[in-house]
Symmetry: C2
Subunit: 325 residues, 2 copies
C-alpha cells in the first residue's frame, strides 16, 4: 500500500506539472493563445494537424530572440575584450588596424575597415586555441564581463518568456535548437545552462577546425578560416546540414531570420513562425527598421500576409529577464 | 485500488524490460561483458565513473560497423545504379570517363581515374537535386536495389548485434550518433528506421547546399562542391562541429575510425573504444589488413595497448543480420 501511495503521489506530481499554466511570464494576449493553440493542435493524436514527436523540430535565433543584442551583439563585446586581453602578446597591434582602434577604445574606428576588419578581429579572438581552451576563455569572460547599460552578466540578459517557451515546447515533445548567426562554439559555452539546449542542438556560424596529436595528447584546434555563415539564406542551409529535417516552429527577431521562417512555414501541415519585435525601450530596447543590429524591416512588412506571429515585447511579456536589473 | 493495480503493472512492465537480458544476439563472451560493465560503471550514481546523461554521447561509424561494406561501399552501388538511370539524360556520357566505363559495366575502369573520377561520379549522382528530391531518389533505390552476393536489400544488411547495442545504450541514457565517411544525406534516408538514429544525430561527409525560392516555393538545392570529408582526422572534427562534445563511447571497424576512437578514449574518466573485426567469411565477409574497403591495420596493432575492445564477429555474434539471407 505504501508503494501504491507512492505511485499516486508520483501521478499527482506529474499531473500537477502538466496542469500548471504554461508560459507564466507571458501576458494573456492573442500571442500567447496562438502559441498554445498551435502546440495543442500538433500534439493532439487524431487531430488533422498532429505531428509525431520525432518531427517536432523547433529552431530559435539567439541574438535579439533569446537574449538582448543592443547596443551591439554580445559576441562583439567578447571580441573587443579579448583583443585587449591579448594585446600584451601582440605589441604590433598598437600600430595595426583594426586592433589599434580597439586598444584606444574607438569601436567605430575599429569597424571602419568593414568586413575585412571584422574578420581579422574574429579570427584573432576565435582561432588558434584548442576547443577546450576556447571554452575556458569564453566561460571566464562570461563570469566577469558586464553589460554597459544594465551592469548584468551577458548570460543573465536572456529573455525569461523565451526560456519558458523553449521549456514549454520541450515538455510537449519538441526538440529545441538554436540557429544563430553567432559563433557555434561561443554559443555552446552557455546555451545548455541558459536555455537547456545541449551543444549538439546548437547551429551557428563557424570557423574551420583541425585534429592533431600534441605530445601524445589529441586536440581540436580552431583555425583562422571561415567555414560557414549561418545567417539569412545560410539559416535554412545550416538547418539542412545540421538537423536534416525541416522545423515546424521557428522563432527569430530580425530580417536575418526571414529565410528560416520562410523555409519553416512553407512546409506542409501546421507551422508556426514567430518574430520578437523589440518594442520596450524602458525595460529593454526599442528598435526595428532602422537598427544597425537586428534590423527588422521586411519581416514587419510581410509577417501578417505570411501568417507569422509578432511578439510585442512591451505588451506580451510580463518580465524581460529572469532577474530584473 | 484499480488505479493502484494499474500502477503496479506499469512498474512491473518497466522493471521487466529493464531486467530483460541486454544484447541478446551477442554471445556471452568477454566482449559482451566489457560493454555491460562499462555501461554499469558510467550509469551508476555514486560510482567514481558516473557520467551525467547529457554527457553520454556514443558515436558509431556506419560502413562495416552498422552494416556490411563488401564487395564495395553500398553508396558506391547507389552511384553506379544512379549513373545508369541518368544515362538517357546524358548522351555525352557514352564517350566520357568515368561514366563510359560505368555504362559498360566496367567498375574497375570507372575507378581508373582515381579521386577525380570518384568526385565526378559522386557529384553527378548527389548534386543538382533538391533535398527532398534526393531523399526520394535514394529511398526508391533502397526499395529496389539488391546486394549482388546476398540478394538482400542494402538496408536489411544491418548488423543485428549493433542495432541492439545502439538500443541498449539509448535505454541507458546515451544519445547515439552516426559518424560516417559516407554521405550525410544518404545516411539520413534510412538511419532512423534502420538504427533508431534521427537525422539530426547523423554526421557524415557532405557537399554544399544553397537555399533558393523557385516559383514562390523555397527549396534546398545540393550543389556540386565538396563541403566536408568525415573520415580519419575528419571524424573528430565532424564530431566537434556537429556534436560539440567529446563522446565517451565510439565504435568503428577500420583505420578510418582510428582518430575517432583516439579522440574519444583520450578523454578523462571511463571511455570505451570498440572495433568490429570482420572474421566471419561464412556469414558475412572476412577481411582486415589487406582490404581495399574497411582496411583495419593500425587499429589491429594498437587496439590492445590502447584498451580498445575488438569484436570478433564470428565468435561474439549469434547472428549477423536481423533476417538471414
Amino acid at each position: 500500500m505504501k508503494k501504491a501511495l507512492c505511485f499516486f503521489s508520483l501521478l499527482l506530481g506529474t499531473a500537477s506539472s502538466l496542469l500548471a499554466e504554461p508560459l507564466p511570464s507571458w501576458n494573456d494576449t492573442a500571442t500567447r493563445t496562438a502559441i498554445i493553440d498551435f502546440v495543442a493542435k500538433v500534439t493532439t493524436e487524431g487531430s488533422p494537424d498532429f505531428v509525431p514527436p520525432a518531427e517536432r523540430i523547433a529552431t530559435f535565433d539567439n541574438d535579439g530572440c533569446l537574449w538582448s543584442e543592443q547596443p551591439m551583439y554580445f559576441q562583439a563585446f567578447y571580441i573587443f575584450d579579448r583583443i585587449k586581453a591579448l594585446a600584451p602578446e601582440h605589441p604590433e597591434w598598437k600600430d595595426e588596424e583594426p586592433f589599434a582602434s580597439v586598444l584606444k577604445g574607438d569601436i567605430a574606428g575599429s569597424l571602419a575597415g568593414g568586413e575585412k576588419a571584422l574578420l581579422a578581429m574574429a579570427m584573432a579572438t576565435h582561432a588558434g586555441l584548442t576547443s577546450e581552451e576556447f571554452d575556458e576563455v569564453v566561460g571566464e569572460w562570461l563570469k566577469t564581463a558586464r553589460h554597459p547599460k544594465t551592469g548584468m552578466a551577458y548570460n543573465k540578459m536572456i529573455f525569461q518568456p523565451m526560456v519558458e517557451l523553449l521549456e514549454y515546447l520541450r515538455a510537449n515533445g519538441f526538440k529545441t535548437f538554436i540557429v544563430s548567426g553567432g559563433g557555434i562554439d561561443f554559443l555552446r559555452v552557455f546555451a545548455e545552462e541558459a536555455y537547456g539546449v545541449p551543444p549538439e542542438q546548437v547551429v551557428g556560424s563557424s570557423i574551420k577546425a583541425k585534429y592533431e596529436v600534441r605530445d601524445g595528447k589529441p586536440v581540436i584546434v580552431k583555425v583562422p578560416e571561415l567555414d560557414f555563415i549561418d545567417d539569412k539564406e545560410g539559416k535554412p542551409v545550416g538547418i539542412h546540414q545540421h538537423i536534416g529535417r525541416r522545423p515546424i516552429f521557428a522563432a527569430g527577431n530580425s530580417d536575418g531570420d526571414f529565410q528560416m521562417l520562410e523555409w519553416t512555414t512553407a512546409g506542409e501541415g501546421a507551422r508556426f513562425g514567430l518574430l520578437v519585435h523589440h518594442t520596450d525601450a524602458e525595460r529593454e530596447f526599442a528598435y526595428d527598421r532602422e537598427s544597425h543590429v537586428g534590423k527588422l524591416d521586411k519581416g514587419l512588412d510581410e509577417a501578417k500576409d505570411r501568417g507569422w506571429t509578432l511578439v510585442d515585447m512591451k505588451a506580451d511579456w510580463k518580465v524581460i529577464y529572469p532577474e530584473q536589473p
